[in-house]
């Protein structure tokens, strides 16, 4: 009892009696405050979660009652080449996106953490894409990457290179989508990093300066380790968000025109979420789609657990 209480609250009790009374009153208030959330969770989250777990073991076309199918959906999933293609596309997207965005956002945040003129403007400018909808971004990127009318191809033609199909090209589609996603998302990550940077005490930098450290060394040996907690948060957040990427890929590679053809040329940008959406809502295989969702959940759970374990090796807490 004594031991578990200590772990739960993390506070050393003063004397047993006082502790018990205070804790009870606190937990009562605490529980009362979270009651709306708990109700919401039980009714709208837990219920749906359990339902989708059940559906994943059944044949369910939405229109008729589900029929128990055992492991059939999971078996089919692992034998389906399209699933593995979608898996690879998702992993490929994440491998490109997460490090690129994290490094660029950190550099940007460091640059915008200085005391310079017009700083607010630049911070704002980088945040504008974050709040724009994907549909707006689609039009902007179309102006650049449209194979017939886009700026990118007229530039290539001008310098004597072959025009490209850009988003309609199997090899280019994911790197391009990553580039656009980094451009859109970087402002958000930058703000998180900025918050982290503000917490780094300035006397550390001053001490380093006295010792003769240059900009690069200060960045590598002070900034990077001291904000590793923030970096850790950013890594987990962006990994999860890329595994769940949907809207961008859906609107940019075909879904806006025709739901069954979303996923780019020859399925080269079909990521797991698009695959899930198509199977579940376009082709009415909700059981199969639920199985995809649970596989996705397990992957994300393992990845996050892995990151949490590995953080001991590199994350620095004060």
């Amino acid at each position: 009892m004594e031991e578990t209480e200590k772990v739960r609250t993390g506070v050393q009790p003063l004397t047993p009696r006082i502790r018990r009374r205070r804790l009870n009153s606190d937990s009562k208030w605490g529980l009362l405050m979270v009651t709306p959330y708990i109700i919401h969770f039980i009714v709208f989250v837990l219920g749906s979660l359990l339902a989708s777990l059940y559906f994943s073991f059944s044949h369910y076309d939405i229109l008729n009652a589900p029929q128990w199918a055992g492991l059939a959906n999971y078996k089919k999933l692992f034998q389906e080449p399209v699933f593995w293609k979608a898996m690879w596309n998702t992993v490929y997207f994440t491998i490109l996106f997460v490090p690129l965005q994290t490094v660029l956002a950190l550099i940007l945040a460091t640059a915008l953490n200085q005391r310079l003129r017009g700083l607010k403007f630049f911070r704002l400018a980088h945040f504008v894409p974050v709040i724009s909808s994907w549909t707006v971004i689609l039009y902007v990127s179309d102006a650049i990457f449209n194979p017939r009318f886009g700026m990118a191809n007229s530039f290539l033609l001008k310098i004597g290179l072959e025009p490209q199909k850009w988003l309609q090209d199997e090899r280019l589609v994911i790197p391009l989508l990553v580039m656009i996603a980094v451009w859109k998302g970087i402002g958000y990550i930058m703000v998180i990093f900025l918050a982290g940077l503000q917490n780094v005490p300035s006397d550390v930098y001053e001490a380093a300066e006295i010792d003769g450290a240059g900009v690069f060394r200060k960045f590598m040996h002070i900034t990077v380790p001291l904000i590793s907690g923030t970096t850790f948060l950013v890594l987990i957040l962006s990994t999860i968000s890329t595994f769940q990427a949907f809207e961008q890929i859906y609107v940019m590679t075909g879904g806006a025109l025709d739901a069954s053809s979303a996923g780019g040329p020859n399925k080269s940008s079909l990521v797991l979420m698009i695959y899930l959406y198509q199977e579940g809502f376009t082709f009415l295989r909700m059981g199969y789609a639920s199985a995809i969702a649970w596989v996705l959940f397990v992957i994300l759970f393992i990845l996050t657990a892995l990151q949490v374990t590995l953080q001991k090796k590199w994350v620095h807490y004060e």
Partner: protein, 440 residues
Amino acid sequence: MKSQYKKWGALLLAITLLSALLISGCSTKGKGGGDVELKLGFYSSAQSDEKMQELIAKFQEKHPNIKIKTESSPYNQFFQKLDTQIAAESAPDVWLSDGVLVPKYAERGVLKDLTEWIQRDLKADDYYGLEFNKDAAGKYWGVPQGIQIAVLYYNKDMFDEAQIEYPTEAWNWDDLKAAAEKLTKDANGKYAIDPSFDKNKISQYGLTFFSITEGWMTVLKSYGGGVLNETLDQSIIDSPENKAALDWIVDGMQRELLPTPSDLKSFQSNMAPFPSKAAAMRIGIYARTIDANAAGLNYDVTLLPKGPEGKRFSPVIANSWVINKKAEGAVGEAAWEWVKFWATEDEVQKEWASLGEAVPVKKSVANSEQFLSGSPANKQAFLDSFEFAGTLDVNAVWSEWVGKFNDSINRAFEGEVSVEQAMKQADQEVQKVLDEFYKK
């Protein structure tokens, strides 16, 4: 301690139950005596919604005991919501279905079989396309609300500029291609027949088409091929007829006489090249007259070209009223009254036709001056096309096999694989989709 938690647990449970009760309590409807409440669902645009409301008001005048509750949203949202509504048993009693989606619902047992009612109340000869919602077993699942049927659109100005004759009903696909060659123009104003023609900078295509409805299905079928067998559960893709048809298409695309699917992506919409004056001809359904008229094109339409053996094919989509299987008794009867009102009343048909969205279902109205006048001049071509019209091999898994077919065939259209390879792949993938649904 333990009892404390129990108390809180009980309280929590009570609140949960109470809120559940409140939510469900709100949705219980009181039932008035004699009156029937009919839930009517339809997809609509701002323009068509207004007309629909007018027609509903007229219906209520005639049937004061039927109270209509409408549920409408734009096309995509409407069908996204519909599936979940059916699952939650809150779907409309009668709704407007895209013609290609009727078998999806019918074969999954969601729709009411209308065969008896249709035979009792409607004279088949009075209508275009009642048979387009008939399944292989002869059952009717819907009554057409408006018909989409395809013809060949051509831009007269572009033909005049190139100094060639307008398309005629005698054309076959090779005649069309010969004309397309003289109508495809590059950015320097050179036509495709010119040796200095630059096919990397097309400013005007001879022909444009897109996907199945306004694309390859017409060519395939008029060449004697097709995608599915008569019972719609076997792929017949891998055939010499289809090979000839696809060769015709791929050749046209490789020479840039018509845009490939990736060329089409550079337009804001797949339907855009013809109304935006980037193509001289198109395969188009009746609804495309709206865009063409709005763009102020000097255009007309004619029958689609014949295949090598003289066969023609015009694809049809019969958007239809369907009735929920759950609508029983008085509600079911009321739903049928609505469908009948729509199909039999000349005034309703005329009012709806005035929107210009679809060919009227009722022959008397479709053949009236009101429908046949206006632009394009040769509207008669739409009616004449019924003679060789057919559906798009629509079945319960239509959108899925179309997706698979496109995935495979588009690679041939882009010149990435040979026609034979693409056909073999499409055949396997489409068969897999069919087997999964029909061979359970």
